[in-house]
């Protein structure tokens, strides 16, 4: 799978100075499966907008975006729903967890759509991030950093060709960030998936193919 951007820019950014941006100013940009990208920028430069367009929850942009050879503006809810089940996974900046459900239930909710992982495997993933003791706690009472780790695990319990991670380490310490990043990279290479990571300043992450300055 390849995302191809043809002079795509979200409408709200048109009024902004985007000079020097490697995404908004590029005549054509490819984001390919199997590669890792970090999109770096300060707040308000359109990191989340970029991921939202790729995930089909924002449609207000200029220019064209192609997924393989299809223009994504022609996709209906049916296509997007199918893509989100099997091709695209996302870690939202706002996490989008259900506060009333436990961590495990939040993960299972997603896993049940495709039954991609066994319960044991989910517990293993949680253990890898040090979240096993919190699996039966309601997501609403966890710290934001812990919630981020739940959201990361939830994003990994489905098949995908691209993982879109929106500032998913923002509230984690260095050690946890490293563990989570390692897990994400491992899962991505297992699926030969592409990774698009937005970040304020994660400069020292290994294994990144391309850095894009917004």
């Amino acid at each position: 799978m390849i995302f191809r951007f043809e002079k795509m820019i979200p409408l709200p950014l048109l009024e902004q100075d985007t000079e020097g941006s490697e995404v908004w100013e590029a005549p054509s940009l490819l984001i390919e499966q199997g590669k890792s990208y970090v999109v770096e920028a300060a707040s308000g430069r359109g990191k989340t907008s970029l991921l939202s367009v790729m995930y089909g929850i924002r449609h207000d942009y200029q220019g064209e975006v192609y997924l393989d050879d299809d223009n994504i503006s022609s996709f209906g809810w049916k296509k997007w729903s199918a893509l989100r089940k099997n091709k695209l996974s996302v870690i939202f900046q706002g996490l989008e967890l259900f506060d009333d459900l436990t961590s495990l239930e939040n993960i299972l909710l997603k896993n049940n759509i495709t039954a991609y992982r066994s319960r044991d495997r989910i517990v293993e993933l949680a253990r890898a991030l040090g979240m096993e003791p919190f699996l039966n706690r309601k997501a609403g009472i966890l710290s934001f950093g812990q919630q981020q780790r739940v959201a990361i695990i939830r994003a990994l319990v489905q098949p995908f060709d691209f993982l879109l991670a929106d500032e998913c380490f923002s509230h984690m310490d260095k050690e946890n960030t490293f563990k989570a990043y390692e897990l994400i990279q491992k899962e991505c290479s297992e699926r030969n998936a592409g990774l698009v990571l937005t970040s304020l300043n994660e400069t020292d992450l290994p294994g990144i193919n391309t850095r894009l300055m917004l």
């Binding site: 809810w77 049916k78 989008e96 259900f98 239930e105 909710l109 997603k110 759509i113």
Partner: protein, 396 residues
């Protein structure tokens, strides 16, 4: 999928749903019970032949002073009969046949005082007469003329005339046993026949003889000018039709209003049932609205969650499923409960009417199942559509 139900059901309003549920239940019970009892009462009335059988209406022209002075004829012309028979309410119109020769009756019996009177005869086909008697036959060989007189004549005598004159009252059976002579006078002579009262009519206020007799007698003795029939009998399947009264008034015809009043029972019954149905429809309509609004409220309360689920890749149809399931469970409960309550009511009603020696059904009429299923299907369909529309709106 248990989790998505858990998430979305959390936002229901128990009081709204309970109110909608009870309202729908009440509406259903009212509607079903109304229909059940309507069918019951209708069948009870059908046994009671006077009320729902076709009504026989005897029509005559109003008598005015012109006729008294001999200036006008009170009979119906052929055109008028034709016009009447073309009316929608008139299933059958039959003119009365009158005698075209003088008739008189007298008694020749030692046990009764001598009695003599001039008479008239009228005849209509047997099917219009409410008295069925084996003796109601004309056999020229025997020369016996059966006669039917109005019940009211006998009442007039028994309860009016006889007590005031110190005369004995006469029961029906005795009157039927009295033989009297009928003298039919032709242009060139007369013949005497035996007459016998074979019955008393509640429907027709006239002295009736069999039609084949009168046709025969008019042929044999008649010499009057043929006159137009002065009375018509009209058969109407629906005597409750208000156009009957309208037509009669417009034309200046007259009838015994009491006859039409007897159908009032039917009108009142229909009125009560239609009132009940309207009330039930309003209640069901309102309850349906409350259902619709509670589900919509539930959806809008959950709109954030629905958006989240959509972002996680849930199809809007999967998201609607918990709402639809909830709706269907409630709807099935409404149908089941309303049928149960109605059948309990029917049972109770059956017990009550037994005491009045009326026979109503103790079980539900089949049509009720059809009606309730149809209604529930309709309500569910409309709600499901609304659910799908509003969840789809929240999904991108």
């Amino acid at each position: 999928m248990r989790l998505i139900y858990q998430i979305l059901w959390k936002d229901h309003s128990r009081t709204h749903l309970l109110g909608a549920f009870l309202g729908t239940l009440a509406g259903f019970v009212l509607l079903l019970a109304g229909i059940q009892f309507y069918i019951d009462i209708k069948s009870v009335l059908a046994e009671n032949r006077d009320l729902l059988d076709p009504e026989y209406i005897v029509i005559n022209k109003k008598v005015n002073i012109g006729q008294t002075l001999g200036l006008g004829r009170s009979g119906f012309t052929e055109d008028e009969i034709k016009e009447l028979s073309e009316q929608a309410f008139a299933d059958q119109v039959e003119p009365f046949l009158s005698n075209e020769f003088p008739v008189s009756g007298y008694t020749e019996n030692e046990r009764f005082p001598d009695f003599y009177t001039e008479l008239f005869f009228e005849a209509i086909p047997d099917e219009f007469i409410d008295v069925k008697s084996d003796e109601w036959v004309w056999d020229p060989e025997l020369g016996n003329i059966p006669v039917i007189i109005p019940q009211d004549y006998l009442n007039l005598y028994n309860f009016g005339f006889a007590p005031s004159q110190g005369l004995p009252q006469i029961p029906k059976g005795v009157l039927s046993m009295i033989n009297f002579k009928l003298r039919l006078r032709g242009k060139y002579g007369f013949d005497d026949y035996n007459g016998q009262i074979v019955g008393f009519s509640n429907r027709i206020h006239s002295i009736l003889v069999p039609l084949d007799f009168l046709t025969w007698a008019n042929e044999k003795y008649g010499y009057f000018d043929k006159s137009n029939p002065s009375q018509l009998i009209v058969v109407s399947k629906d005597p409750t039709d208000p156009s009957i009264i309208r037509f009669l008034e417009e034309k200046g015809y007259d009838t015994i209003r009491e006859k039409l009043k007897s159908s009032r029972m039917n009108i009142i019954l229909k009125l009560i049932i239609s009132f009940l149905v309207v009330v039930a429809a309003i209640i069901i309509g309102l309850a349906f609205l409350v259902f619709l609004l509670s589900l919509q409220l539930m959806i809008s309360r959950s709109s954030d969650k629905i958006k989240k689920l959509n972002k996680l890749g849930f199809h809007y149809r999967e998201i609607s499923r918990p709402y639809i399931l909830l709706l269907l469970v409630l709807m099935i409960a409404v149908t089941g409960l309303s049928l149960l309550v109605t059948s309990l009511l029917a049972n109770k009603f059956h017990g009550m009417t037994l005491e009045w020696s009326l026979n109503t059904s103790s079980s539900l009429h089949g049509i009720l199942f059809g009606i309730s299923l149809g209604l529930v299907a309709l309500i569910s369909l409309a709600n499901i559509t609304a659910i799908l529309i509003s969840t789809k709106k929240l999904c991108k």
